[in-house]
């Protein structure tokens, strides 16, 4: 599935996501600058993204664990999510995310 990712310079990238894998993994494998320090364990908040409004509501709501971890992210907005907690799914085809500041 296609993921549209906007990097920290505002440049738009089209990235291929594998169904069942996470958006973080797709961004990281495409060489985009998500640190993902904990490797996807929902333990570091360094894969923080803003999800475009059109897609935000389609996501399954964040777990209490993810909400807790977002407390450790900087510049959290109402459409903030951790990309390691978003699983690629055909329903999310074309999802647009912006990589949050470091």
């Amino acid at each position: 599935m296609k993921i549209i990712a906007i990097d920290r310079k505002g440049v738009e990238h089209t990235v291929e996501g594998t169904i069942g894998w996470t958006v973080m993994e797709a961004l990281r494998d495409a060489g985009l600058p998500v640190a993902a320090e904990c490797g996807g364990a929902c333990a570091c908040a360094t894969c923080h993204v803003y999800v475009d409004e059109e897609w935000f509501g389609k996501l399954s709501p964040p777990s209490p664990e993810e909400l807790d971890m977002l407390d450790m992210a900087v510049a959290v907005e109402s459409n903030s999510r951790l990309s390691c907690q978003i699983r690629c799914d055909p329903a999310l085809e074309g999802i647009k995310v912006t990589i949050a500041p470091e």
Binding site: A35, E37, C38, A41, A43, C44, A45, T46, L67, D68, M69, L70, D71, M72, A73, V74, A75, V76, E77, S78, S80, P101, E102
Partner: protein
């Protein structure tokens, strides 16, 4: 980082066989492999305890790919490694950042830390993972100019906050602990967080809410958008609420507590031909381009590298063989198994 820094002991100078930067699982296991060869170690780590990412990022998360241990948490793995290396009496320098490296005339390495510790050894092992854990800096324009003067990522002396208008940002234990600790000292204390929910200990959250109800502190669901002041002295900040409405809030001390992130730090200046923040090594010794300096674990790179704890363990074992030849050039190294060698078992305290 939510505890106060104790008064530092006087700077130490020590000579040893091997200096290890990083007390994560790989640095710890390196102590074991080096110890079997009678090599003594000093370890330097910026965190205040052993374990590196395992204890800092995921102490309670299960790890499933440690050979022979179907499930272990980051904390348990660290505890077990600490137990395993106890016979070897390694010296730990916690809360210190390896800051400068020099080669002495006799060929040994001299490593200095930001706390003034000076270590000298023929072998340096870098087991620093992704680098140093440092406080996350909020992406607010110009915040660097205020750091250390009116923006602080740690509180070293409570008295430094007396009678100041303190603004704390964050929703974890550090943010809540300092809100409670500084409330009686500050002239006015305000806590801001992006949501009305916290990941901190429940009793801290309850106490904070009591203080708000008593009118002793303020809490806003808001985030800091801009800093205002001059010469590093903060005068006010711009806050934005959940409804994006912005307002100006007077504050002359700002304490952002968003946990730690990993930055490579001074290792980048050690002259090791870094490639994308990784240290290239050979796969026979895991030695860097500089003889006597080894790199093991997540910080090294070679063809086929996998960033797995088990790979780091293997790298530590091979590194130790090569380190022995540097530290004991006139001695013969005999390969032995812990299962059958009574001399190894003596070192381990089991024979």
């Amino acid at each position: 980082m939510n505890s106060m820094t104790p008064v530092n002991p006087p700077p130490e100078r020590a000579e040893t066989d091997v200096i290890i930067i990083g007390a994560g699982p790989i640095g710890l296991f390196a102590v074991f492999e080096l110890g079997l060869l009678d090599l003594k170690c000093h370890l330097v780590d910026i965190l205040d305890r052993a374990g590196g990412q395992c204890t800092e990022l995921y102490p309670e998360k299960p790890i499933y790919d440690i050979p022979g241990i179907p499930l272990v948490t980051g904390q348990e793995l660290t505890d077990r490694l600490t137990q395993q290396i106890r016979p070897f009496g390694a010296q730990f320098h916690f809360g210190e950042m390896a800051s400068a490296l020099h080669r002495l005339e006799d060929g040994r390495w001299q490593l200095s830390t930001d706390a003034g510790t000076v270590l000298v050894a023929p072998v340096l092992v870098i087991a620093a993972g992704g680098g140093s854990f440092v406080p996350k800096r909020p992406p607010i324009a110009g915040i660097e100019d205020y750091e250390g003067k009116s923006v602080f990522y740690a509180v070293r002396r409570i008295e430094a906050m007396r009678d100041r208008d303190v603004l704390i940002a964050g929703g974890g234990d550090s943010a809540l602990d300092w809100t409670l600790n500084l409330a009686p000292v500050a002239r006015r204390l305000t806590l801001v967080h992006h949501r009305d929910g916290f990941r901190a200990a429940q009793h801290s959250v309850t106490r904070m809410r009591e203080l708000v109800a008593e009118g002793k502190i303020d809490f806003h669901v808001a985030s800091v958008k801009a800093l205002h002041g001059a010469g590093g002295q903060l005068e006010a900040v711009t806050l934005a609420g959940a409804d994006k409405k912005e307002w100006r809030h007077g504050a002359n001390a700002f304490l952002p507590f968003f946990g730690l992130t990993i930055k490579l730090g001074p290792i980048a200046e050690f002259g090791l031909n870094l490639h994308e923040n990784l240290i290239p090594v050979d796969t026979a010794k895991f030695q860097s381009s500089t003889p006597g300096i080894f790199a093991i674990g997540d910080i090294n790179s070679y063809a086929g590298k996998l960033k797995l704890i088990l790979s780091g363990f293997h790298e530590a074992a091979l590194m130790a063989q090569a380190a022995f030849k540097i530290c004991r050039p006139n001695e013969k190294l005999r390969f032995q198994y812990t299962t059958s060698s009574s001399s190894l078992q003596k070192k381990l305290g089991v024979a």
